[in-house]
């Protein structure tokens, strides 16, 4: 995320992409082959720690990348920054949806077995859905603005404004709702339920999925730049 090059460094991208793909493959093998301690309700679903939780981390990373580039739009007025902010938001929203859906499936077949509960008002679930709503509004707002440079500036203002209000959710929502997540009230802390061997897979999985985000995001930025150079329209 350096300041100077407006275009993507393709060679660096290719190298990092190959590393990431191998990395994620190794993580996938480790996730299924390493034995983990048996936990009563969780059983094998404890392995979802390697897949569901990194979605949330990846979306947070995407939100930061998007807000950073929105800030740069306001500073420099560079449309390439706008392309980056938009694509980070799009891929971030995609990971948010994946985190939401996998979380719903996990909780349904683990904690809510034998009930009709699909949607529970878990704080993190609510926060992800709110972040998705914000990005939905962000995309709608972009559609309502015609001139590309005006669109870049005003969408960046909205993105940053939203980024200042969302941290309150971290404080407000957990006081309202019960959680299934570790560390919440009545639940064991993260360190109590994760064996060291799980953390050995978990942290690389986070890095792997954030890397996967970076690969997809860069692909889309490259396509959007191409489109911008041909049609002068940065929207993708």
């Amino acid at each position: 995320m350096d300041n100077t090059p407006p275009v993507v460094n393709v060679r660096r991208y290719t190298v990092i992409r190959n590393i990431i793909l191998v990395w994620v493959t190794v993580v996938l093998f480790a996730a299924f082959l390493l034995n983990i301690p048996k936990i009563n309700i969780l059983e094998h679903t404890a392995r979802n720690l390697y897949f569901h939780v990194p979605m949330w981390f990846t979306m947070m990373a995407a939100v930061f990348v998007s807000a950073y580039h929105s800030f740069q739009v306001l500073r420099s007025g560079d449309l390439v920054r706008d392309i980056r902010a938009l694509q980070a938001a799009r891929v971030g929203a995609f990971f948010g949806i994946l985190g939401l859906v996998t979380g719903i499936v996990w909780s349904k077949f683990t904690w809510y077995v034998g009930t009709d509960v699909w949607w529970n008002f878990d704080p993190r679930q609510s926060m992800v859905s709110l972040q998705l709503l914000i990005y939905g509004a962000y995309f709608v707002l972009r559609g309502a603005l015609d001139d590309p440079s005006k669109r870049a500036r005003i969408a960046a203002v909205y993105n940053l404004f939203a980024a200042t209000t969302t941290p309150f959710l971290l404080y407000v929502i957990p006081r309202q709702m019960e959680s299934l997540h570790p560390g919440a009230e009545g639940n064991p802390a993260f360190s109590e339920i994760t064996h060291p061997i799980m953390r050995l897979v978990f942290y690389p999985a986070i890095i792997g999925f954030i890397g996967l985000f970076w690969v997809m995001y860069t692909q889309r930025v490259r396509t959007a730049l191409l489109k911008y150079r041909v049609t002068h329209d940065p929207e993708l």
Binding site: F161, T164, T165, T166, F168, V172
Partner: protein, 223 residues
């Protein structure tokens, strides 16, 4: 001093224009009254819990804000006075003037909806000062967010119902704490310690929102 004078001038202009036509005020009040009546008819004789009462009250206030306050900058564009303001008054003063005007409108909405709601739903208010405090503090944050977003939608080509879409996701933290504070005021028995956390959150949220809005407003306002 200059800064206050500029903001005051913008506020005065808006108030005078409003007093001449009363368009925004009448529309807001009619919206509040009709939605409150709708709620009352829909609920009927059923007694509503304190939580539902405060939630409904705030939803009405939120919706009327999103419908009525969106006009503040659109009206400038329609009258063709944007350029005049841009040239004569710095952005932060325009924002402050509009913010205070929107806040005053919201206070009127608060007052009317509270009185009508209390009559229609037989609301019993245990602690007046807590309710008033949460309404006023909540309105500050609401006015701050709405004023910036109103400036944003004035720039959009398709203005229609854009403001609620942009506004609601941002206001969830405010709505949650404000509903809790008003609920505490309706239930009573909690006193200051029970609601102080929520009031602090509301005040902090309003402060952060207004600071961010002032910082960002210039980018929306300048061409």
């Amino acid at each position: 001093m200059n800064w206050i004078r500029g903001s005051w001038a913008v506020l005065q202009k808006d108030v005078q224009l409003e007093m001449r036509s009363r368009y925004a005020l009448n529309m807001l009040l009619m919206f509040v009254l009709s939605s409150l009546l709708l709620i009352a008819f829909a609920i009927g004789q059923e007694s509503v819990s304190e939580r539902m009462q405060s939630a409904l009250l705030w939803i009405v206030i939120l919706f009327s804000a999103s419908i009525g306050l969106g006009r503040s900058f659109v009206a400038e564009e329609e009258r063709g006075t944007v350029l005049l303001l841009q040239l004569n008054v710095p952005g932060s003063q325009v924002f402050t003037g509009k913010l205070v005007f929107n806040f005053l409108l919201l206070l009127a909405v608060d007052l009317v909806s509270l009185v009508v709601f209390a009559l229609l739903l037989n609301m019993v208010i245990e602690s007046w000062w807590l309710l008033v405090l949460s309404l006023v503090l909540g309105s500050v944050g609401l006015a701050g967010a709405t004023t910036l977003l109103a400036a944003i939608i004035a720039r959009a080509s398709n203005k229609g119902p854009l403001l609620p879409v942009l506004l609601f996701p941002l206001l969830i933290p405010l709505l949650l704490s404000v509903v809790r504070a008003s609920r505490a005021a309706l239930e009573g028995g909690l006193g200051f310690s029970g609601a102080s956390g929520d009031l602090q959150t509301i005040a902090l949220f309003s402060g952060v929102v207004i600071t961010a809005a002032v910082l960002l407003f210039d980018y929306v306002w300048q061409d």
